[in-house]
């Protein structure tokens, strides 16, 4: 079988012409001299989902297996029976943020998903349990941050604070002097500003009609 079989022929790798261009880690063609990576960005997604068993695990599982960095996630009912709203705070470089939105939209229980604008109204709730030795000062700080005292005793005082993320961060710092024993934060939840829709295609649910699905437009 020696015949005329020659095996693979041709110029070796180093002898072939090769273009100078290249792409960055996100597959975008780049100027080799220029900045090549996007910085991570923090943003909020809101999704209307069918309220069926396992929906939260599907969303969380998707994020975990695709290595999306979720800072917080909240779920709750909406005005439409059978629909829930999931609010997710994520931090990713740009193409990753785009991927999160598209991959969420592919999940069957996800009816519609959208990224919120910077002017969206955001809030979270925190419960803080601090040492009860200095009730007056705790009360003063709680007042300062428009908080409420939920539970007070000789050992501990538990307060509730709500507000945007920065206010909560500041408040937590302020309470540190008392010795924070326990803390529970809900993570951000958010709605679009004014009459803007939080999620594309979202309709007010007063009629009880399900909202229409996102049409997957690019």
């Amino acid at each position: 079988m020696s015949d005329n079989r020659k095996g693979l022929q041709g110029p070796a790798p180093d002898e072939r012409p090769h273009p100078d261009g290249r792409r960055n880690a996100q597959g975008i063609r780049i100027d080799p001299e220029a900045e090549s990576e996007h910085e991570p960005r923090r943003t909020v997604f809101s999704a209307i989902v069918e309220d069926e068993p396992g929906v939260l695990s599907r969303v969380a599982g998707l994020a975990a297996r695709r290595q999306f960095n979720i800072e917080s996630l909240t779920v709750g009912p909406t005005t439409v029976e059978g629909h829930s709203r999931i609010t997710m705070v994520v931090e990713e470089p740009e193409p990753g943020i785009d991927q999160i939105e598209k991959q969420l939209a592919k999940l069957k229980p996800v009816i519609s998903v959208g990224e919120l604008d910077d002017d969206a109204v955001r809030a979270e709730l925190v419960l803080l349990k601090v040492r009860g030795e200095d009730p007056d000062k705790v009360h003063a700080i709680t007042e300062m941050y428009d908080g409420r005292t939920l539970d007070a005793g000789p050992e501990t005082i538990t307060v509730q604070l709500t507000g945007d993320e920065r206010k909560i961060d500041d408040a937590v710092d302020a309470f540190r002097r008392f010795g924070i024993i326990e803390i529970a934060r809900t993570g951000q939840t958010a709605l679009a500003h004014g009459s803007k829709k939080t999620v594309p295609g979202e309709e007010p649910g007063t009629s009880g009609e399900p909202t229409k699905p996102n049409t997957n437009t690019q």
């Binding site: 693979l8 290249r22 996100q26 193409p95 598209k102 939209a105 997957n216």
Partner: protein
Amino acid sequence: MSERTAATTDPEAADDSTETPTEVTSGSTAVVRALENAGVETAFGVQGGAIMPIYDALYHSDIRHVTMAHEQGAAHAADAYGVVRGDPGVCLATSGPGATNLVTGIADANMDSDAVLALTGQVPSDMVGSDAFQETDTTGVTAPITKHNYFASSPDTVGDTVGEAFALAAEGRPGPTLVDLPKDVSLNETDSEPGPAQPPETCRARTDPADEQVEAAARAIERAEKPLLLFGGGVVKADATEVARQFATEHQIPVVTTMPGIGAMPEDHELCLSWAGMHGTGYANMAITHTDCLIAVGTRFDDRLTGGIDTFAPEAEVVHIDIDPAEISKNVHADYPVVGDAGRAIERVDAELDEGPDAPEWVDQCLAWKDDYPMDYAAPDNEPLKPQFVVEALDEATPDETIVTSGVGQHQMWAAQYWTFTEPRRWVSSHGLGTMGYGLPAAIGARVAADDDETVVCVDGDASFLMTIQELSVAVRENLDITVAILNNEYIGMVRQWQDAFFEGRRMAAGYDWCPQFDKLAEAFGARGWTVDSYEEVPGAIEEALAYDGPSVIDFHVDPAENVYPMVSSGGANGKFALSEDQL
């Protein structure tokens, strides 16, 4: 994928093809009726406790059931059946181990976007969560590897759920779906007949692309000086082959395919540069490296195709046509995304072109690369039988439209490199997941799907064949005319090749010289078997095996030292493909 939405069937119309539709009296009969309504003719599966009610309902149905030896085989057979037929394949398994045995096959279908509906038995609803006998959280286990899965909750709705799952498998970008069927849901009474199978409202794919996307893509293609078409598996799945070929030939644009896209363009066509990527042709990889406008259709830019992203098509503006918006700019940034059905999108872009790209010099360059880097292998007298020769001999001895299935590894690459495919749905392989053992059960599924006058060949490796060899019993029992060609090099050969290239030749756990005598084993199963050691024996054995009307196994003892080249090293530049180990 508008064609595929034909899976959305009208039960009235489907009744014509099913002579006696199953009467709905229970959850299980509703399930079977839903399958009949969807036009299902065949299902592959394995019996077991929790799925027994479904099998009992199948007892009275016209649906053909092929009992497989292992549930993994059932999933692969259903997958291949779907690839060949263009409709979702259906597989069944019981709860617990039955369902977990399906997992590899479901994951395989998921990676290759193959439409498969899996039905699994489950322990009774009131025992779920109690760690009952043969209980597994099947929807939990399979959530990451299905488009969606369902836990059936009521006999009244289970028929509609199965119909929806079937339709969803085929909708848009195809993929696997699963319905988990608690035994009580299957057994309990209902007279609720399933309606027409519809994909869920939230998963309807956009088939007609947006005008502005079409226009932008057309402008980019018009100004291209080195345009290149990249046909992925999506072209085949969308049945867009004719439209895609027409576009390529009308505008004289060279074509490269992915491995799942094999057959989208006839490989003997002048404009076809065959498949690109790690073990693709040198000319395909040169074209990808130098194109200034890559028109990619129905591909997800897998790393085995792209090599290192930094050097992938580094000069190219990318037009990316895909029905799944999430594939746009996932791995490679799309300068011009076009979201829609492959065939429809190509038609729309074609209609939008004022003038096609005019690049005769570029075409000449691509053809010159074909001459510069021909696919060839050396076969000196003093070396053993070459596996590539076997592939060529099989190709020559079989009709043009022969269906070829494969396992995964060196034999798979040689089959893909040295078989000349001219039609879609003829190359049936495990691409994304890389599942060794896919070949034989896939050949069974393909054989059942194919017309009687079509030929089905499984090119397998010794290690791959051993992984699902039990399915030979199925081929014998069903008297399926399949020819298995084992390219036996007594190694898990691709691993051996990498050990030699990247692990200084330490062949840890790679030797398979302990493999059984496959010809005798075939005979023990009731199939026919041959062993071939020399070039002289090749044509005779192939002729006899093909002539035998039933399953046959030829154990080709091939050169254990042969390596697969060209090769783009993992993460390397496509244009720097090595022609031999010393170039890596």
